[in-house]
Amino acid sequence: MPLPPLSESAIILGADAADWREAVRLAGRALVASGAARPGYADEMIRMIDEHGPYVVIAPGLALAHARPGPEVLADGLAVVTLATPVAFGHPHNDPVSVVLGLAISSVSAHLESIAELANVFNDSSAIADLAAAKTADEVMRIMGSSE
């Protein structure tokens, strides 16, 4: 199963975010722009982190913002936000974050195989730095394997 779709409208490069909440909001906005989520999804992603801590920072420099499937999700989708200035999420090892992925998933069962594709992208240890340095949406799509 391929990754959830990543469209150009869900890519925001070199954004300014004052803190992690703003960074996650940008990922939410990108998911709204691509039609994957309603505006309230950003609040749900933030609530997950408020509730459980910064565990979404799953690798150095990379946050995988997401919430559970629900009414705020319209379709499976992925967003990529890169930050002009990295922000801290409060993670003990992986701060600061320069790349925020937003993930919206409409059902849990269909989902685990597409996550395997994310692992394929990021098990390449240069992928996070390459994304952070990307200047165009095309570059991002290439790194994410969405343009092949």
Binding site: H52, Y55, I58, N94, I105, V108, F122
Partner: protein, 90 residues
């Protein structure tokens, strides 16, 4: 053997842990059933698990368990996973 990967939502980070744990186990020549779960389903999913993979944030919430709780820092670093799984299984 049963291994459970735990995160807050049970879809994103635990899914990645599951996928990479399966890869590492295969590389090590070990067989295990790896499940992705969230805190809400932890009790039922991990009742007979030998190993729980998770982030530091969830260790307190997981609480008392017979399973070995392994904390993973970089979910994409299969060497870290391999090292920690081998140590727990060895």
């Amino acid at each position: 053997m049963k291994i459970v990967a735990i995160c807050g939502a049970g879809i994103g980070s635990s899914g990645i842990l599951k996928v990479n744990a399966e890869r590492v186990l295969k590389r090590l020549g070990l067989e295990a059933d790896v499940t992705a779960a969230h805190l809400g389903s932890l009790l039922t999913d991990s009742a007979d698990a030998q190993i729980i993979l998770t982030s530091a944030e969830f260790v307190d919430a997981i609480g008392k368990t017979f399973a070995d709780v392994i904390v993973i820092e970089n979910y994409f670093d299969t060497d870290e996973l391999s090292r920690k799984l081998e140590a727990a299984l060895g």
